[in-house]
């Protein structure tokens, strides 16, 4: 392992959070490309040698992660528990914030059709959503956005990795059927 790779390994080892390649370049006093090469080499090394930990790119940086087959002893040692499941209402609210961020409580409620005050509070308690300033509109409502922890928990390198919202649109057939049932039925029933 060359010198740069060793230094990058040392920095990432000590960090409790994902480290961006810019931070690594500054800390190691190296150019970006050298750091990127080192990251690739480091990741390959850990994978090839079958270590109990692996190097992953997540939440906008790089971090060591426990290999999935080694989780049990770590959980016993550290007393770590899997995070509680998220209810559909929380997931829905989280999806709206993730895709529309920064967004207001009112906008979330408008999309979901129900009050989202409780859901936003619960998501903030879990560290998945945070307040990020206020909107420039009358009333200056609070803006909400997702956190780094959200990216970590959902295995995302960054928000750009979220699936395209278009993918979840109803099919043309379903849309037509929905429209037909809402409007055309009225025509059919006209006396």
């Amino acid at each position: 392992m060359d010198d740069v790779t060793r230094r990058v390994e040392a920095v990432i080892f000590t960090s409790p959070r994902p480290v961006g390649s810019d931070e690594l370049a500054a800390a190691c006093e190296e150019r970006g490309e050298r750091v990127n090469d080192a990251l690739a080499a480091l990741g390959a090394h850990y994978a090839a040698e079958g270590h109990g930990i692996e190097l992953v790119e997540i939440a906008g940086g790089w971090q060591f992660r426990v290999a999935s087959d080694c989780e049990a002893p770590v959980e016993r040692f550290a007393g770590a528990r899997r995070p509680d499941e998220l209810s559909p209402a929380l997931l829905e609210t989280l999806a709206v914030v993730a895709y529309l961020q920064p967004t207001t409580r009112a906008e979330v409620a408008q999309v979901r059709g129900v009050s989202s005050e409780w859901a936003l509070g619960a998501l903030m308690e879990r560290g998945l959503v945070e307040e990020r300033g206020r909107a420039d509109t009358p009333g200056a409502p609070i803006l909400y956005a997702t956190t780094t922890r959200f990216l970590e928990l959902f295995g995302l390198r960054g928000l750009q990795e979220l699936d395209d919202l278009e993918r979840f649109a109803l099919s043309a057939d379903e849309t037509d059927e929905l429209r037909a049932r809402l409007l055309a039925n009225a025509e059919r029933r006209r006396p």
Binding site: S115, W118, E152, L153, R181, L182, A186
Partner: protein, 288 residues
């Protein structure tokens, strides 16, 4: 629930829920996660004819959910009301003879636009619902992964602040001021209205014993509310026939003349149309 359910109310509570793997463990045991969820599921998955659904059931279900939850979002509920109203309007228009006597009113209400708006909301909601399901998949895969967790280094745990150090006693005294009860506000300047209807009736009657007539402005108090009470007393006397009221034109002086009582007790007699010396109620206007 499959197939059509004509004629009978589609019970929201018993319709097939959008079940997840952990239904029983969730704290909020909602069958549907909102009215849009409800509508989209009912229409698309359960293939229920929208026009057979009892909107009252949807509203009742929503009210139950509101009663259960602690927070109340005025905006979201208003939005729900608007959309349910659009739904109701679409349904109700079919009951009316379009083109008949109600045609003018209905021209303003565009059921197509209302339907399109409801459709757009439902489509948008459906997208996020799909995105949420995808997030659930990701969570199942990634949420259990373990990373390095490191506590705050000891040398940062007890960092001194840069600001001036104050003795604890000073801070406690400062906060203590906030905990004191504020003095009760002085309400002595607020008084009751000095004039009551009963008292005014008595006063005016006393005046009428001595004087056969007087003007309203001569006997009315300065305060507006008290003036109104006096005027009301005058009207009461007028109804009983004890006085006759005359006003040459609107907002002119009102002349009060002693009249002949038509009744001592019982309901007041209204002046008749041919009694043109007595001012009608419409022409009377309070001066000032």
């Amino acid at each position: 629930m499959t197939g059509r359910d004509r004629g009978t109310a589609t019970s929201v509570a018993t319709a097939a829920p959008v079940a997840g793997p952990l239904d029983g463990l969730r704290v909020e045991l909602d069958v549907f996660d909102g009215p849009f969820d409800l509508l989209v599921t009912l229409i698309l998955r359960d293939e229920v004819d929208l026009w057979e659904i009892r909107v009252s059931r949807i509203v009742a279900e929503y009210l139950l959910r509101l009663a259960d939850s602690d927070d109340f979002d005025l905006e979201a509920t208003s939005h729900f009301i608007v959309l349910v109203a659009a739904l109701l309007e679409m349904k109700s228009r079919r009951l009316l003879d379009v083109g008949g006597p109600f045609a003018d009113e209905l021209d303003e209400l565009d059921d197509r636009a209302a339907g399109e708006e409801l459709l757009a909301s439902l489509l948008r909601y459906a997208q996020f619902k799909g995105a949420a399901a995808r997030l659930a998949e990701r969570f199942a895969t990634h949420a259990g992964r373990l990373y390095r967790s490191v506590p705050v280094p000891a040398r940062f745990q007890s960092a001194a602040s840069d600001g001036p150090a104050l003795p604890a006693r000073t801070l406690a005294d400062a906060l203590g001021v906030l905990l004191e009860e504020p003095p009760a506000p002085d309400a002595r300047h607020i008084t009751d209205i000095a004039v009551t209807l009963v008292a005014e009736l008595r006063r005016l009657r006393d005046l009428l014993v001595d004087a056969e007539s007087f003007t309203f402005s001569a006997v009315a108090p300065r305060d507006r509310v008290e003036k109104a009470v006096t005027f009301f007393a005058l009207l009461e006397l007028h109804n009983r026939g004890e006085v006759r009221l005359r006003q040459s034109r609107p907002f002119a002086e009102i002349t009060v003349t002693r009249g002949v009582p038509t009744r001592v007790d019982g309901p007041a007699a209204w002046p008749t149309a041919d009694d043109d010396e007595t001012a009608s109620d419409d022409a009377l206007a309070v001066v000032g």
